[in-house]
Amino acid sequence: MRAWIPNILRAALLAFLIAFLVSPDLFDPLLKPLVQDNAPAIYNQGSLLTLTLLHLRTVAIATTGAVLVAVTLAILVTRSFGAEFLPLSRSLVNVGQTFPPVAVLALAVPILGFGEKPTLVALFLYGLLPIFENTLTGLTTLPPAVMEAARGSGMTDRQRLFKVELPLAMPVILAGIRLSVVISLATATIGSTVAAKTLGEVIIAGLQSNNIAFVLQGGLIVGALAVLIYDGFSAIERVLARRAGLSARG
């Protein structure tokens, strides 16, 4: 197969996205047919670039928090002293996924007020689940032979964790982080219903003023970001998996 075609498409998408964010007015003629006579076709209540960066920042902060907490928790419940909590943590993760993001967001508002904070909490809680689940899977499905060898060579518990278990589980953990980031990118837009500065602002402005062009540009920027970040993570996972000596799709 011609392996370079997807890469060219990705590069084109990235170039298009950057061009749109840096000088959106160039694309005015493209979107103009979608709006009624005098309505603006390009979002004019703030800079798209700033909103995109704020959007990415919100997702990055929430995901970093989620990675730290989820990976630590998964490590704790897979050690012998935390094994008692393993079944419960599994069912909690299951239950947690049934909470709708809008509900989490709305319920966080009375405690944290409007703005970025409730969005961060909702994204953090939502991001925990896939990372925790994948870290658990990664740490509990290590090849027994490797674990035996590590134990046999006299490694301490700590050495085993950092030199054997985590590196081997890393591709699966990264897959969880990738999933979590993609979900967060889309969910962050809902944060704008409680006045968080994200790309959701563009979409909601479009919904309120019946401006399809706004909705479309907000939605497509988020979609493009998600596709690019998803592909970036997949590439890193493949490199790590190859280094760990597993198959590319391990």
Binding site: P87, S91, F99, A103, A106, A186, T193, I203, G219
Partner: protein
């Protein structure tokens, strides 16, 4: 004799102690939007009742702290949940001045911490007991039935969330109907389209990557944007296709919400059908061919039953996700529980937000338990038929 502590019990015991002693049990507000006055258990309840609740909680904490039989712990969890349900109702009646329609009493952080502690205890005991799927559904039914009895009895009528409800009971049931119709309707549509599409992708390999990649791309578009984007084409159809408007297709409202939920639902259904069918053991298929089954017989008699647990997992994902996403429909006039959530956010009336959020969470939770049970009931058949 040595006393042995339960590790999780220590955590839950501390939570119960904190929720009972350090956090407020109920909040009293003179009307629905002013800041509230937090009350501890002894302030929120008549003296006797307050002491009784504290005593009950202390007893529960003690049983939970020690290594006690799992069934007893489940019983304590159920009793604890029932107790705080009854006492929060009493607190509302006790705190509301007689004949005052404006005062609002709502559960405060202590109540939610206690609720969380006992729910955690229940989840832990149920996980340890590993009940059969039907027993789990029964437990769910008992819990929901208990809540319904308390609701009907009028015990909670003094609580702010029910005061919000009593003002708009008709609208509430209308939106509830819309919410369920949206979530279930789009699920049915996605199964009707997704199953055949999944079978097609399974049989015609070149289609697979293209279809799955397209469906994956749809998932990256944020829900509020997809809902909005669909307004344009559906509005066009309503104007230009004869009869479309007559069956309810319109640019805003339920139609774009329905289509958006349907599009989001396709990926889990199609992908799980493909994975499920691919996981059917080769020997099963060959045996079926060997005894002269036609393609159609093989599909319905062998492949489908074997792939069922995986397909059902996809349907579970879709149903839970749709129940949550249907709240967004309110943003484009599609109705559903989201109406109360967004109205509540707009008026900073959190009781109204709860009126929308609590039923959504309960619905999603119940759907997850019922479908998990269904998946498990279907899974052993697979083992049996493999062994046979």
């Amino acid at each position: 004799m040595s006393i042995r502590f339960d590790k999780l019990g220590v955590v839950i015991g501390v939570l119960i102690a904190y929720g009972a002693l350090a956090a407020p049990f109920a909040t009293f507000r003179a009307n629905r939007i002013v800041p509230g006055d937090a009350k501890g258990i002894l302030d929120a309840l008549p003296t006797g009742a307050g002491m009784l609740l504290l005593g009950l909680l202390a007893g529960a904490a003690l049983i939970v702290l020690l290594r006690t039989p799992t069934r007893l712990r489940l019983l304590v969890a159920a009793a604890g949940l029932a107790a705080i349900a009854v006492f929060i109702g009493m607190a509302a009646t006790h705190l509301t001045p007689p004949a005052n329609a404006y005062a609002r009493v709502s559960p405060a952080s202590g109540f939610w911490i206690l609720l969380f502690s006992f729910a955690l205890l229940a989840a832990d005991s149920i996980t340890r007991l590993r009940p059969l799927p039907l027993v789990r559904v029964l437990l769910l039914a008992i819990t929901l039935g208990g809540a319904a009895v308390v609701l009907m009895s009028g015990l909670w009528d003094g609580l702010s969330i029910l005061k919000e409800y009593s003002g708009r009971a008709d609208v509430f049931w209308l939106e509830a109907g819309r919410h369920v119709t949206l979530a279930l309707g789009s699920l049915v549509a996605s199964v009707l389209v997704g199953l055949p599409l999944g079978i097609l992708c399974h049989r015609v390999a070149p289609l697979r990557a293209g279809v799955l990649n397209t469906l994956n791309l749809i998932q990256t578009i944020p829900s509020i944007a997809l809902f909005g984007i669909l307004i344009a084409p559906l509005g066009w159809i309503a104007v230009h296709v004869p009869g479309a408007a007559a069956i309810g297709i319109r640019g805003i409202g339920a139609a774009p919400a329905f289509v958006a939920l349907f599009l989001y639902s396709l990926l889990p259904v199609v992908a799980n059908t493909v994975v499920g069918l691919a996981g059917v053991p080769r020997e099963a298929n060959e045996a079926a061919r060997g005894i002269g089954m036609t393609d159609r017989q093989r599909l319905f008699g062998v492949e489908f039953p074997l792939a069922m647990p995986v397909i059902l997992t996809g349907i579970r994902i879709v149903l839970v996700q749709n129940i949550g996403l249907a709240t967004i429909a309110a943003l484009i006039g599609g109705g559903g529980f989201g109406v109360f959530v967004f109205q509540g956010i707009g008026q900073t009336a959190m009781d109204l937000v709860l009126l929308g959020a609590v039923p959504t969470v309960v619905l999603a939770f119940a759907a997850a338990i019922v479908l998990d049970a269904l998946i498990e009931i279907n899974a052993p058949q697979r083992e049996r038929s493999r062994a046979a």
